[in-house]
Amino acid sequence: MTSAIEETELERRTNASPLPRILKNLTGSVLSIALTMIGLLAVTFIIGRVMPIDPVLAVVGDKASKEVYDAAYKAMGLDRPLLVQFLIYLKDVATGNFGVSTLTARPVAEDIARVFPATLELATIATLLGVVIGVPAGVIAAIKKGSWIDQLIRLVGLFGYSMPVFWLGLMGLLIFYGKLDWVAGPGRVDVFYDDIVPYVTGMILIDSLLAGEFDIFFNAISHIILPAFLLGYYSLAYISRMTRSFMLEQLGQEYITTARVKGLSEFTVIWKHGLRNVMVPLITVIALSYAALLEGSVLTESIFAWPGIGQYITIALFSADMAAVLGGTVVIGVVFIALNLFSDLLYKIVDPRAR
C-alpha cells in the first residue's frame, strides 16, 4: 500500500499543472474506473467458471436426482455460452440487478445491504482507533527519533504486523470476554436486542441512536470494541509508521525552523504546522488502510461471529454462489477505487506545492 502513496507523491513532484489538467484527469479517471470495473467483473466471472465447484451441485445438493440437476442447470442459464452469460450479467449489473444468491435465496443487493454495514461499522471504528492512537504515536516517534520511546512504538507496531489475527482474536476473546468480563461476546448485539431497531443504515451503532435505544447502543459498543481493537491494532501499526516517516520529512523543512525562530511554542510548531502539512499524505494512508479493512476480514468475522462481507463472499465462493461473489467483489472494488480516487484528488487539489 505504500506504493500508491509513493507513486502519487512522485507524480506530485513532476506534475505542477493546475485545474484544467485535473478536470482532464477526472474524465480519464472515470473512463479507466469503468474499464477497471469491467475487468474486475470479467476476472471474477472467469474464476467462477473455472472453479471445480459445480454451481448446480451447490444449489441442489448431493442427493438430487439427475432430472432435478438438469432442470437447475438450465434454470441457472449455464447452458448458454460463457460470453453470453457474462454479457447478460453485465447488462443486469448496469441496471442495478445483481441477481439472486443461491445460498440465501434473496437478491444479492439485499444481502449486501445487510452484510456490508456490519463490515463498514467494524472497519470504521477500527480505523478511528488506529488514527486516534496511531497518529500521535507516530508524531511522538518522529520527535523523539532514535530514543527508547521511538523504539518502543516501533516494536509495538511491529507486533501488530506480525501477529496471526485468528490467534490474537481467540486469545482476546478468552481474556477480555471469558476471564475479565470487560466486553460482550461474539455477535453484533446480545440476542434479545436483535431486530429491535428499525433498519436505516444497517449499522447498529447509528440505527440504535436514531431510534433512541441507548441500551442497545451501549450493548453494541461492548460487542464491537474487541474486534475493532484487534483490527485497529493492525491499522494503527501501519498508520503510526507512516506518520513517523512523513513527520520526519517535515521536521527537517525550513519553515519549521523559521517557525521555531519566530518563537512559536514547540507544541504549536509540531502539532499545528507540522501535522497540517502531512495531513494530505496521511489521509491517503488512512484511506488505504480503511479500504483494506472494508474488504472484510474473513478470519476475524468467523471468530467473532460477525456477519460481515468477508464471510459472505467466502461462503459464497466455497458454494459457487457466483452472483453473490460477483456482487461482493463489485462493492469492494468500487469502495477501493473510490477511496483511491478520493486520495488522488486530494493530493492534486490540496497539495501546497501544486497551488
Binding site: Y161, S162, P164, V165, L251, G252, T329, F336
Partner: protein, 308 residues
C-alpha cells in the same frame, strides 16, 4: 578481497571505511560496509536478521534438532502439555509439536523464498516496462494492475486455490498472484522519475536497446525500494499463507505447515493452549524477524528517513 596485497599495510577497517576508494569495486565494498555498520548499530534490525538466520539454521539442522518424527502419531500421547519429553507438548493425534515446528521451518522458508523471488521480479518487470514505455502500454498494464489491486486479496487467493485445488504449491502461486501489483506500482513510480534523467538519455544516445536500458540501468535503481518493500511484505505473506492453511487450503495434511497447525489447534485453545499457541508463536517470531529487518533496511536505504 583481491585488492588485499596492495593494501596490506593498511588496516582492514581503514581500507573498508576509506573515503578515497581505489577502484569502483572498492567503492562498492566501502559503501556496503558503511551501510552494514549503520545497520549493525540498529539493534532491532540486527535482531530481525538474527531471527531469520536462526530460521535457516533450524531448517538446515532440522533432523538433528527435532526430538521426534514429526509425522509419528500416538493416540495414547495426545494433547500432552509441554514437558522435557515434548518441549512444546503434543497435538490432537499425539504428534510432537516441537518437532513439527522444526520441520515446518522448511515449508515456511519455501513459501517465503518462492514469493520473494517471483512476485517482485514480475512486478518490477511490468512496472518498469509500463513506466519507461508510457503511452498505451502503460495504460493497459496499469489498468490490469489496478484490477488485481482492487480485488479483495484473500478472496483472490481463495478463488485461485479453489480453482487449482488445495495444496502448498497452489497456495504459493495464489500468494504470488496477490503480491505482485504493489511492486508494479513502486517500480513504475521510480521509473517515471528516472526515465527522463540525463544519464538515461546518454545511454540511449549510445544506441542501447529498450530492454537493455530497462534491465541494466533502470532495474538497479529500483531495486533498493523493492527490497525494503519485500521484507516488510514477507510477514504479510506468511500470515496470508497461514490464513489459507487456516481455511484448509494450504499445505495438505499431515505436512507440518504452521498455519494449518494453528488451524487444527484452535479447537483446543481453551484447554490445551499450546497446540495453537506454539505454531502461532513461531509464525509471530518469523514475521517479526522480517518486519524488523525490513524496517532497518528502510531506514538505511530510504533517503527521506536517514537525511533528516
Amino acid at each position: 578481497m583481491t585488492d588485499m596485497s596492495q593494501t596490506h599495510h593498511q588496516s582492514w577497517r581503514q581500507w573498508l571505511t576509506t573515503d578515497e576508494p581505489t577502484s569502483r569495486r572498492h567503492a562498492a565494498i566501502v559503501q556496503f560496509y558503511l551501510g552494514w555498520l549503520s545497520f549493525r548499530s540498529n539493534i532491532l534490525a540486527m535482531a530481525g536478521l538474527i531471527i531469520l538466520l536462526f530460521l535457516v539454521f533450524v531448517w538446515l539442522f532440522a533432523p538433528i534438532l527435532a526430538t521426534h518424527d514429526p509425522l509419528a502419531q500416538d493416540l495414547s500421547l495426545r494433547l500432552l502439555p509441554p514437558s522435557t519429553e515434548h518441549y512444546f507438548g503434543t497435538d490432537a493425534l499425539g504428534r510432537d509439536i516441537y518437532s513439527r515446528i522444526v520441520y515446518g521451518s522448511g515449508i515456511t522458508l519455501y513459501i517465503v523464498t518462492l514469493v520473494a523471488v517471483t512476485a517482485p521480479v514480475f512486478g518490477l518487470l511490468v512496472g518498469t516496462v509500463a513506466g519507461y514505455l508510457g503511452g498505451w502500454v502503460d495504460t493497459v498494464l496499469m489498468r490490469i494492475t489496478d484490477i488485481f489491486l482492487a480485488f479483495p486479496k484473500l478472496i483472490l487467493a481463495l478463488a485461485f486455490v479453489s480453482a487449482l485445488g488445495a495444496g502448498l504449491e497452489n497456495a504459493v502461486l495464489a500468494l504470488i498472484l496477490t503480491a505482485w501489483p504493489p511492486y508494479t506500482r513502486i517500480a513504475r513510480a521510480e521509473t517515471l522519475t528516472i526515465r527522463n534523467s540525463e544519464f538515461i538519455d546518454a545511454v540511449r544516445m549510445q544506441g542501447a536497446g529498450t530492454m537493455h536500458i530497462i534491465m541494466r540501468h533502470i532495474w538497479p535503481l529500483c531495486i533498493s525500494s523493492i527490497i525494503v518493500r519485500v521484507t516488510l511484505d514477507m510477514a504479510g505473506v506468511l500470515l496470508t499463507a497461514a490464513g489459507l492453511g487456516f481455511l484448509g487450503l494450504g499445505a495438505q495434511p499431515p505436512t507440518p505447515e504452521w498455519g494449518a497447525m494453528i488451524s487444527f489447534g484452535r479447537k483446543f485453545i481453551l484447554d490445551h493452549w499450546w497446540v495453537a499457541t506454539m505454531p502461532g508463536l513461531a509464525i509471530f517470531t518469523v514475521s517479526l524477524g522480517f518486519n524488523l529487518l525490513g524496517d532497518g533496511l528502510r531506514d538505511l536505504l530510504d533517503p527521506k528517513g536517514s537525511k533528516s
